[in-house]
């Protein structure tokens, strides 16, 4: 349903350097799947999310939504895209126009893409808002009168208004409190059940949330996917050193953090994340990798190696690392 094919998104800087935000990403989402995209800053995950909606132009490669390529698409194709794919952004406080009422914001997609107007439009908006738990009195309120969780619900209503086949969620709960996050996540999970054909790309840096919501996960580092597979498999049996470090560093709500997940060695990374302007040569991770070997890792970019059923990792030593 959503395919990324050797996608590259490079931004030229005024200084002549190039920011390689996305550097050769290939990923395929089957209809109805929820796939998580995890990574830290500079990983390119948000860029991919926006590019899938045509909000950021790609430099090369393809992004296919339901078979139609978004890269370099015509205006007509992009218009069709709008009703097939939608996005929910991270910051609910910034995602809504402060001068528009909630109902007007939610109606925007409908006004632009359907002939619905007047009473019929109002009714549909009220229905959409009711489904996300915002009853009538919220219709004419302005964003600043709502809490973060309520604003995010309104954004979800807005995205679902057009019945999209593909939904991109860019860190939808990162800015929310724990209990509100739980509500929204529960809703998203129920949504998966209620719309089994809807494909979702869930972008997050929070591994716990990804575990809860996604069937598959792809781990990104500096614009490249370093590991990909079923979520339980990747989290319990990580085969890429970066994934291991990420899992080890993820704060888990338990008393003895050293006793982390079943089989992960504690590996703390030294140094900072390199900037995507100066992507290291060869394997992007070699500057911080505990098992990097000179002559191999700093020269050759690793290919995807299969390490398990539908589980791949881009590391020269993926197969050698103990499944532990």
């Amino acid at each position: 349903m959503l395919e990324l094919d050797d996608l590259r998104i490079h931004f030229p800087l005024a200084s002549g350097e190039v920011v390689k935000a996305v550097d050769g990403v290939t990923l395929s989402l089957a209809p109805g799947e929820t796939v998580g995209l995890v990574g830290e800053s500079g990983s390119g995950k948000s860029t991919i999310g926006k590019a899938a909606l045509g909000l950021i132009p790609a430099t090369s490669g393809a992004i296919r939504v339901g078979g139609e390529d978004v890269v370099g698409a015509s205006a007509a194709t992009l218009r069709r895209l709008r009703s097939r794919a939608q996005i929910i952004f991270q910051d609910p406080h910034a995602s809504l126009n402060p001068r528009m009422t909630i109902s007007r914001s939610v109606a925007e997609g409908l006004i632009l893409n359907t002939p619905l107007r007047g009473k019929a439009l109002r009714e549909r908006v009220a229905e959409l808002l009711a489904r996300v738990g915002l009853p009538e009195q919220f219709l004419n309120r302005f964003p600043h009168e709502l809490s973060g969780g309520q604003k995010q619900r309104a954004c979800i209503a807005r995205a679902l208004a057009l019945d999209p086949e593909v939904l991109v969620l860019d860190e939808p709960t990162s800015a929310l409190d724990v209990s509100v996050q739980a509500q929204i996540l529960t809703f998203l999970k129920e949504l998966q059940a209620a719309r089994p054909s809807m494909t979702s790309l869930f972008i997050s840096h929070n591994l716990a949330v990804v575990r809860f919501l996604c069937q598959r996960v792809a781990v990104m580092y500096l614009g490249r996917i370093v590991e990909e597979g079923p979520v339980a498999e990747v989290f319990e049996n990580p085969r890429h050193p970066y994934t291991r470090a990420l899992l080890a560093a993820a704060p888990a709500p338990e008393a003895n953090p050293r006793a982390k997940g079943p089989r992960v060695d504690y590996v703390e990374l030294t140094g900072d994340i390199p900037s995507p302007v100066n992507t290291p040569s060869g394997c992007a991770f070699h500057t911080r990798c505990p098992v990097a070997r000179k002559g191999i890792c700093d020269v050759d970019r690793p290919a995807d190696l299969e390490v398990g059923p539908r589980h791949r990792a881009a590391c020269h030593f993926a197969r050698d690392l103990e499944a532990a």
Binding site: L53, F89, A94, E108, G133, L160, I184
Partner: protein
């Protein structure tokens, strides 16, 4: 299609004591009224507007504003009959000041209005598009802004010939660049807001984004600037009038009145003093009000 349903959030707070609708307006009004200078500004502006509206109706000697001459009453000091005294042709200065308010208001509104009509769209275009269109607009704006305003106005009036209408044209041409700068900067920053991206994702084209999302959020700085500009425009017109380039006698324009009265200083000080006082209070009023509005509408910009 049956969908998942989120539980409705429990009643937010107990119903706020005032109805939600105008709460924001009330809060702004309350904040505004807490500032003494802002309230003073508001009072002065209201006084000015009232004078412009009703002044000519209460003026004791309305014919004096249009050129009647009364040499017996010439250069009389302020008294009960002539509150502000009389000038060298015997006209009641108080009446002339009252009539002059209307002219002044006209000038201020026209100049500011035209400046906004020209400057805001240009600023929006410059902010939304990039490339050579924006560059051209901004460079032209820069050129205008680098010439001292009054000098430019004088030059334009010099070319067009003196008169109140030409003065207004000149001042409008001097004023519009300021709005371009302001609006362009605001548009540039608004363009990158998340909700603009969201609108694009929903299928909005650039025009729609401009009018529905960007423009309404630009309004507060424009309002603040406009109110300060009223004062400055009035001062500008008065300066031109003082130089003899604006209203021509016997037109009761305050600047021109000061010019006339100048020759009679200091013995017959009232001829220049009262029109000057009127200008001072009006400009002060608009400036204070503009400051107050800015504090209310955009407290971060303090």
């Amino acid at each position: 299609m049956s969908d998942a349903a989120l539980p409705a959030p429990a009643a937010q707070a107990p119903a706020p004591r005032r109805p939600m609708r105008f709460r924001e307006t009330r809060r702004m009004a309350a904040t505004y009224s807490r500032s003494i200078s802002a309230m003073l500004g508001l009072a002065l502006v209201v006084l000015f507007l009232a004078t412009a509206a009703f002044g000519p109706l209460v003026a004791p000697f309305p014919e004096d504003a249009t050129g009647a001459v009364n040499f017996e009453a010439k250069l009389l000091p302020p008294s009960a009959e002539h509150l502000f005294g009389t000038d060298q042709v015997g006209n009641d200065i108080f009446s002339r000041v009252l009539f002059g308010a209307r002219t002044t208001l006209q000038i201020g509104l026209t100049v500011t209005g035209i400046a906004i009509l020209i400057g805001v769209p240009l600023g929006l275009i410059a902010g939304m598009t990039g490339g050579w269109v924006a560059e051209t607009i901004m460079r032209v704006t820069d050129i205008f802004l680098s010439i001292p305003g009054l000098i430019l106005a004088i030059a334009i009036v010099g070319a067009l010939g003196p008169g109140i209408l030409n003065a207004m044209v000149a001042l409008s041409l001097v004023w519009w660049p300021g709005y371009v700068r302001l609006v362009q900067a605001k548009t540039l920053s608004l363009r990158n807001e998340v909700y603009v991206d969201a609108a694009r994702a929903l299928g909005a084209g650039p025009l729609r984004i401009l009018f529905v999302h960007v423009l309404p959020n630009c309004l507060s700085p424009i309002v603040v600037k406009a109110s300060m500009d009223m004062g400055m425009a009035i001062l500008g017109a008065a300066s031109l009038g003082f130089l003899g380039l604006g209203a021509q006698p016997p037109f009761p324009e305050w600047g021109a009145m000061i010019a006339q009265g100048r020759s009679y200083l200091p013995d017959w000080w009232w001829c220049a003093f009262f029109p000057g006082l009127a200008i001072y209070l009006t400009v002060l009023g608009f400036n204070l009000m503009g400051d107050g509005l800015r504090d209310v509408l955009d407290p971060r910009q303090r």
